[in-house]
Amino acid sequence: MKKLWLLLSVIVLGFALVSCGGDDKDKDPNPNGGEKQLDVELADTFKSFAKNKEVYLTTVGQADIDIVQNILENAAGLVEDQDFIRNHELTADQVPFGSVVFLVTGTSSKGLGAASTDVQAEKNRATAFVNKANAGQISIVLLHVGGEARRGSLTDPILNVACPGADLMLVVADGDQDNLFTNFSKNNNIPLYLFSKATKMVPAFAKLFE
């Protein structure tokens, strides 16, 4: 009988807790994803090749460049045209020796249409950046913030040429479910930082330009 009452009380207690548990879903069980230490490490990695260099921002795939620009401006406090140049059609020969290019990957068919370009042209642009990086003339920070939704036949051909040329890769983990980025990182010895969400990149970016 005693056990029955105890069980009843536990059920009531459990129900009471569950009945108001909706908000918990919104909370990150691990605020900042345990990424604080990684943020510092990432900043050190970035600064090792990018400190005080001219920064360019472009996209190969015509997607998500606004998101990365927002993160650069709001988290890192950079100002367009003053601290970095944004050009969604930037070509490798427009980038001076010694600069850092933030190369945003992920392809949007609508973005391609709006920019009057196509996957092949974007792939060619990416290849030119990689050739310049391999010649030691520029550094590339490759970003993929769109997760799984920005993978597939439009995006992967560009990733396949762009990833090996990167000095650093910042990727939303959902986009690496098949270990594409992990494998490029291992095979080419490129530092790779995975983030649970794109918004989790914000604190990391805050440290990049400190």
Partner: protein, 271 residues
């Protein structure tokens, strides 16, 4: 009564009491969260635009005594994107708005009545011997232009007068971006880079609520020229979003998605 029996009964009653107290207090806390804020007094007014025509439609204004930005929500620019305008229809009954909200539930009212993209969209734009075009390619419209241009113009006029910070246009797409023949379904489209981060935050929060079998939403840019989003995002420089649910899904689910996205949006701008 034995000493053991007394303690057993005492223990049982204590357990029950604790359970009841916790249950009651938790329910009270929940109720407090769910009930509208009694200090939030929302005044609702409305007016008609395009009066005296078959395109006459209602514009609702909500003004709260609590602070919040000015927001415009539009439904029914495309009449066959039913979830969007049905959610907008229901939205005018809400009493928990903060700041100032303007809602045009059925911007293209004749199209919503016909449940067509625009009147005559299945008949080369001809309906009752009048030629119509896609309203979402005609913004900002013209005061003395075609019928569709005049509808667009009336909407721009009333929205501009309200001077909003945020605008949301509720739409639907025939297919998802993830379909083999992709369209715009399951997307939030932002009109300019000012809205990119908020769109991303909304998408991330929304995707957290989805079942694993659901297609996650993505953000996208570049609304088409002549669209409500493009005009107000590029020309007027407001923060604009188009919500695009996927018409391959059932109506109830699409309406829930539109509502959930709106709630996430409100949560973000009111907090």
């Amino acid at each position: 009564m034995t000493k053991q029996g007394f303690f057993t009964r005492l223990f049982k009653r204590l357990c029950l009491l604790i359970g009841i107290v916790i249950f009651a207090s938790t329910l009270a806390a929940c109720k407090e969260q769910q009930e509208p804020d009694p200090e939030n007094i929302v005044e609702r007014t409305s007016k008609k635009i395009l009066t005296g025509t078959i395109y006459e439609t209602e514009v609702y204004y909500f003004k709260s005594n609590l602070p919040g930005p000015k927001v415009v929500i539009v439904g029914g620019i495309h009449g066959d994107e039913i979830a969007g305008w049905m959610v907008a229809d229901a939205l005018v009954e809400r009493k928990d708005f903060k700041g100032e909200i303007m809602i045009i539930p059925r911007a293209n009212i004749l199209a919503t009545q016909l449940e067509q993209r625009y009147p005559g969209s299945t008949n080369n734009g001809m309906y009752n011997n009048v030629k119509y075009t896609d309203l979402n390619r005609e913004f900002p419209g013209k005061a003395d232009g075609t019928v569709t241009e005049r509808i667009a113009y009336a909407i721009v006029e009333v929205v501009t007068e309200f001077s909003p910070t945020y605008l949301i246009d509720l739409h639907e797409s025939k297919r998802s971006y993830s379909d083999p023949s992709p369209l715009l379904g399951d997307e939030i489209i932002y009109g300019n880079k000012k809205g990119a981060m908020l769109a991303l935050e909304m998408v991330e929060d929304f995707n957290d609520t989805l079942d694993p079998s659901d297609t996650p939403f993505i953000t996208d840019a570049n609304p088409p020229e002549g669209s409500f989003n493009h005009y107000f995002g590029k020309t007027y420089d407001a923060i604009t979003f188009t919500f695009e649910t996927n018409r391959q899904l059932g109506l109830a689910k699409r309406m829930k998605q539109q509502n959930d996205l709106l709630n996430i949006f409100f949560q973000k701008i009111w907090n």
